[in-house]
């Protein structure tokens, strides 16, 4: 399957569009139009890094390059230059497709560049033997700071999508996510494989403006994380939206957010999906209740779900194939199961999510490794040791809290001021969502028999 070829051959593109906060383009114009044989030749069979600013540019490049290049590594927006360089190295990219918003002049020296406007005119020679299955490389949301790259096939990425069903007439997809992230890419592919129109978001656009724009564009199908939705629920622009299908993924969907969305959109079909960059789309729950039915454990068509040692394991053609980079760790066990690291607990006929085994904290979709924060907290002269954990939060699902054992002799006459000082010490050293929202002083912290901090929630 080649995306652009499928769109051209399938037809039915009349009236379909892609839009973002700046422009609206006909889908037929994006995949049709004149092609540039020389730029196609330059890119054919190459490993390509896609480092553009906006999502419209990313969408156009994906449609032009799928089936032409050997590997397409997607740089999500807002990454630090050293992480972009890491993705370029791990993906062994030979050429970067970029624009001024996506890549600064001095970045990635030595790597040849092709401007997005030129690259968007490239195309696989459809129907020819030169066409090849492009490997897609997606960045994880990053636990220890540097994102990991996961290799996928297009067929695997699209494995959870029913490609045989004709789209409901008038379907317009949208997502709060960026389409260069796994969740957003699912929406991009759903729209392109239907085919249907797609409204792209922008990370700098206020929620209210996005909701109004999505409403005006007639969005019917929309995906966000529970955190995206909690924020949208607080905007009076939410009433501009009249979706037929509301989807949540990327974080644990709790009963509160599901109930609030049900009240806001009584007529809409509602689904929370369990998916990750490594594990692919696991399953979708549509009964409006948190957690998932125990009956999903086991093998169904194309996917097998297992619970081992209280964690969820997934085996299917939709999981990532492997990690990229030098000496990558194995993505799946020898039996083909991917360990998701998500802990679950069975209560009656339902499983509920407890959080991450590693203690990784999910702050509104951004992952925080506790050890990274502890290392910074521990640099404060008053701190003897610390343990960083998730503090439940109704807006972002969780924020970071540090439990601190003070050094003997530390002046704690004004505990509030000392807590503030520790947080202020972290702020210039950590990105915003990693800075502890609160500090608690404790007398000691429990250690395992092996001398490690006890991390598992009691």
């Amino acid at each position: 399957m080649i995306l652009r070829e499928r769109l051209l051959e399938g037809g039915g593109l009349d009236g379909l569009f892609l839009s973002d906060h700046r422009e609206k383009r006909d889908l037929a114009g994006i995949v049709g139009g004149s092609r540039d044989a020389s730029v196609s030749e330059t890119l054919a069979g190459k490993r390509v890094l896609l480092a553009v600013g906006g999502q419209m540019a990313a969408a156009r490049a994906m449609l032009a390059l799928d089936g032409l290049v050997a590997r397409l590594a997607l740089v999500p927006p807002g990454l630090a230059p050293e992480h972009v360089a890491r993705i370029a190295a791990d993906s062994e990219s030979q050429i970067v497709v970029c624009d001024a918003e996506g890549l600064s002049e001095g970045d990635l020296p030595g790597l040849p560049r092709i401007d997005i406007e030129a690259a968007a005119k490239a195309s696989a020679e459809t129907g020819q033997e030169t066409g090849q299955a492009t490997e897609w490389a997606l960045a994880t949301s990053g636990t220890t700071g540097a994102p990991k790259l996961v290799a996928h096939t297009l067929d695997g990425l699209a494995g959870g999508i029913n490609k045989a069903a004709a789209p409901e007439p008038g379907t317009v997809w949208s997502t709060f996510y960026d389409i260069r992230r796994y969740g957003g890419l699912q929406v991009f592919l759903r729209a392109m494989l239907a085919p249907a129109s797609l409204v792209l978001s922008d990370r700098h656009e206020p929620v209210r403006d996005y909701l109004i724009r999505a409403g005006e564009a007639g969005v019917t199908h929309i995906l966000g994380t529970p955190s995206h939705w909690r924020l949208a629920l607080m905007s009076n622009a939410l009433t501009r939206l009249a979706p037929r299908y509301v989807r949540l993924s990327g974080e644990i969907a709790d009963q509160t957010v599901l109930d609030l969305l049900r009240t806001a959109f009584p007529e809409a079909r509602m689904a929370h999906a369990y998916a990750s960059t490594e594990g692919g789309v696991g399953f979708t729950v549509e009964d409006g209740r948190e957690g998932f039915p125990a009956s999903l454990i086991g093998a169904r068509s194309g996917i097998e779900i297992a619970v081992r040692d209280d964690a969820l394991y997934v085996r299917s053609g939709r999981t990532g194939r492997r990690y990229l980079g030098t000496a990558p760790e194995p993505l799946m066990a020898e039996d083909g199961f991917v360990d998701t690291g998500d802990l679950v607990e069975r209560r009656g006929e339902r499983f509920h999510f407890l959080g991450r085994r590693s203690g990784v904290i999910n702050v509104g979709g951004a992952k925080v490794q506790p050890e990274e924060v502890e290392a910074v907290v521990n640099l404060h002269p008053g701190v003897s040791m610390s343990r960083v954990r998730a503090r439940p939060n109704p807006i972002l699902g969780a924020v970071v809290e540090a439990e601190v054992v003070l050094r003997a002799g530390t002046d704690a006459a004004d505990p509030a001021a000392l807590k503030k000082a520790i947080i202020a010490h972290c702020r210039p050293r950590l990105s915003g969502h990693k800075v502890p929202a609160s500090v608690r002083f404790v007398d000691d912290l429990p250690l395992t028999s092996g001398g490690k901090l006890v991390r598992r929630m009691p």
Binding site: S235, N236, L260, T263, P394, I395
Partner: protein, 85 residues
């Protein structure tokens, strides 16, 4: 300090720490039309829980969802009243 002035002061404090420019904080201010983003909101709610012991967001009806600063003050007011009752 009254609950209103606490809410106003904490919004200003969080915004300052996160380097967000805010218009003057009044009850009419619609928070999502400012630079006050989801992380700011999450920090505000955590601090208000530390200060008041109440987290009205966790048990909320759709009608309670705050849009303006005044809505937010009212939400904490009702939570405080429930605790006192």
């Amino acid at each position: 300090m009254s609950l209103r002035s606490t809410v106003h002061a904490e919004i200003a404090a969080v915004a300052a720490e996160q380097e967000k420019r805010m218009p003057p904080i009044t009850d009419d201010l619609v928070m999502l039309e400012t630079e006050f983003d989801s992380l700011c909101f999450a920090l505000l709610v955590a601090r208000m829980e530390d200060l008041t012991g109440a987290d009205p967001f966790s048990e909320m009806e759709a009608d309670d969802l705050p849009v303006t600063v005044g809505d937010l003050v009212a939400l904490y007011d009702r939570a405080a009243a429930r605790k006192a009752a």
